[in-house]
């Protein structure tokens, strides 16, 4: 077992950020932490990396207390890429982080593997968003970690840059265990073996990617309609800007039903829901 929480609760004033969360992270593979904003992902991560302490329950990291710096020698964390010290050069930034670890990857080798070798002498303030993101992820791997925490590693990247970074993470994930948080189901699908879904500070699901995908495969069928009869398989109905949105697990069946019942509609659109919508629906909010 690399890390775990046992019955962990975390309160901020009156807000309950985590509610009796027990989670095991065994060695090997990529664990995806999924959930809408405010679900407790960041709080859970901050407990694992020793930034905060739980209100009750225990957190273990590599056999010790994450608040003890010694327990953090073999973990890696991504900084927010917008906050890299702008006047430091790429090489200096990596060397600074490496200096904290007992047996770091040589700076040149790490830069090479993350495709940053050509940028070694550039100040981080002058990098593009994608390059900075690469550097942020590289920093997490600087100390030959057993366990890596990647917090929203590709948010804000274009598709090409995102896929390139996924390839690198996948390559490293064969040697390390990775905990990954993301808004994107696609990202979790691309990288994770196991998915843990958080909502309102609780673990809603903990399963394989395929099983979770089935659970959140909800579509949004949006149309302009005056008069809507009762329909089967609709999880929720929303009205906004003159349009009606129906959330359903089976969009094809719903559209057939609309036609079959001779509903007068126009401007039909079918979209996959975001995870956030799907989970808000599934958790009954």
């Amino acid at each position: 077992m690399l890390a775990r929480t046992v019955e962990v609760t975390k309160r901020f004033g009156d807000t309950l950020a985590l509610d009796h969360v027990s989670l095991d992270i065994p060695e090997g593979g990529v664990v995806g932490l999924l959930g809408p904003n405010g679900a407790g992902k960041s709080t859970l991560l901050s407990l694992f990396v020793g930034l905060r302490r739980p209100t009750s329950g225990t957190v273990e990291l590599l056999g010790g207390d994450p608040r003890d710096p010694a327990s953090r020698r073999r973990i890696g964390v991504t900084p927010q890429e917008t906050s890299l010290p702008g006047t430091l050069r790429v090489r200096e930034c990596v060397a600074f982080v490496a200096a904290h670890h007992p047996d770091p990857v040589p700076v040149g080798e790490l830069l090479e593997r993350f495709g940053l070798a050509d940028l070694a002498k550039r100040q981080t303030g002058g990098l593009s968003g994608g390059q900075r993101r690469r550097l942020a992820v590289a920093l997490a791997f600087a100390g030959r970690p057993k366990l890596v925490f990647l917090d929203e590693p590709t948010t804000g990247l274009d598709v090409q840059a995102r896929r390139a970074l996924w390839d690198t993470v996948r390559e490293f994930a064969t040697e390390n265990t990775v905990v990954l948080t993301s808004h994107y189901l696609e990202e979790i699908e691309a990288l994770a073996d196991r998915v843990v879904v958080l909502g309102d500070g609780r673990i809603l699901a903990d399963d394989t990617v395929a099983a979770i995908r089935g659970m959140v495969g909800i579509h949004r069928v949006s149309l302009v309609v005056d008069d809507l009869p009762a329909l089967n398989g609709v999880v929720s109905v929303e009205h906004a800007d003159g349009r009606t949105s129906l959330l359903t697990p089976d969009a094809d069946e719903l559209v057939r039903e609309l036609i079959h019942k001779d509903v007068q509609f126009h401007g039909l659109q079918v979209q996959p829901t975001t995870l956030e919508e799907a989970f808000l629906t599934l958790t009954g909010k």
Partner: protein
Amino acid sequence: MSLVLTHTRYRIIETVRIPVAVLGGAFFPAASMLFFVVPFAGDDPVGATYATASMVMFAVMTSSLFTYGVGVADDRAQPWSTYVRTLPAGPGAAFTGRILTGLTMMGISLVPVVIIGWLFTAATATPLQLLLALGVVVLGALPFTFMGLAIGYWLPTKAALAVAQITFFPLAFGGGLLSAPGDAPGFVEAIAPYLPTRGAVELVWAAVGDFRVSATSMIALVAWTVAMAALAAWAYHRDEGERFS
């Protein structure tokens, strides 16, 4: 220890990569020397020596208030400082690195003052006096270092900047840094002994000249140092509780 040096080294690199920030810290005391000390007290060895000592304390005070006040407040707003806390090191390395960097920057801001005093005024000091002065400058910097840390850990950046700006001038003027010993306006002479600037500059005056420090100023200096240290500790723990508990 090596981690403290690592933190100090990278913080100094970060700072000197913005040369205008370094120049800015050294500019005000150097300009004050050129405009106020050189023309008015430049020819009188005793007066010039005291005035140069005052400007040294002035530089120390502004450097401490701004480096720590604004620097700490700014760092607290940066997610990078949160990331650094996840590295396998206690908070002590980063903190000590910050203080060592502050002392280095303070030293840099003093260089032009001392050089101008040496080249363009009649100010004199023996090497032993200079060494003694260096020691008491570090001692006199303590209350302002704590004051800066208190401001930085307590307030957000914009407020910290404003408070540092509002604080430094009354402290300098009220403490008699802008006039020769015994030569300040009456009300300044009356309040000066109760301000930390006065006690600090009296120590420097005594180190480089024939000045006898007053008991009131010394007691006030100690009281300010203790009070500011307590305020800084309170602000630090408050920040720890907010961001890291």
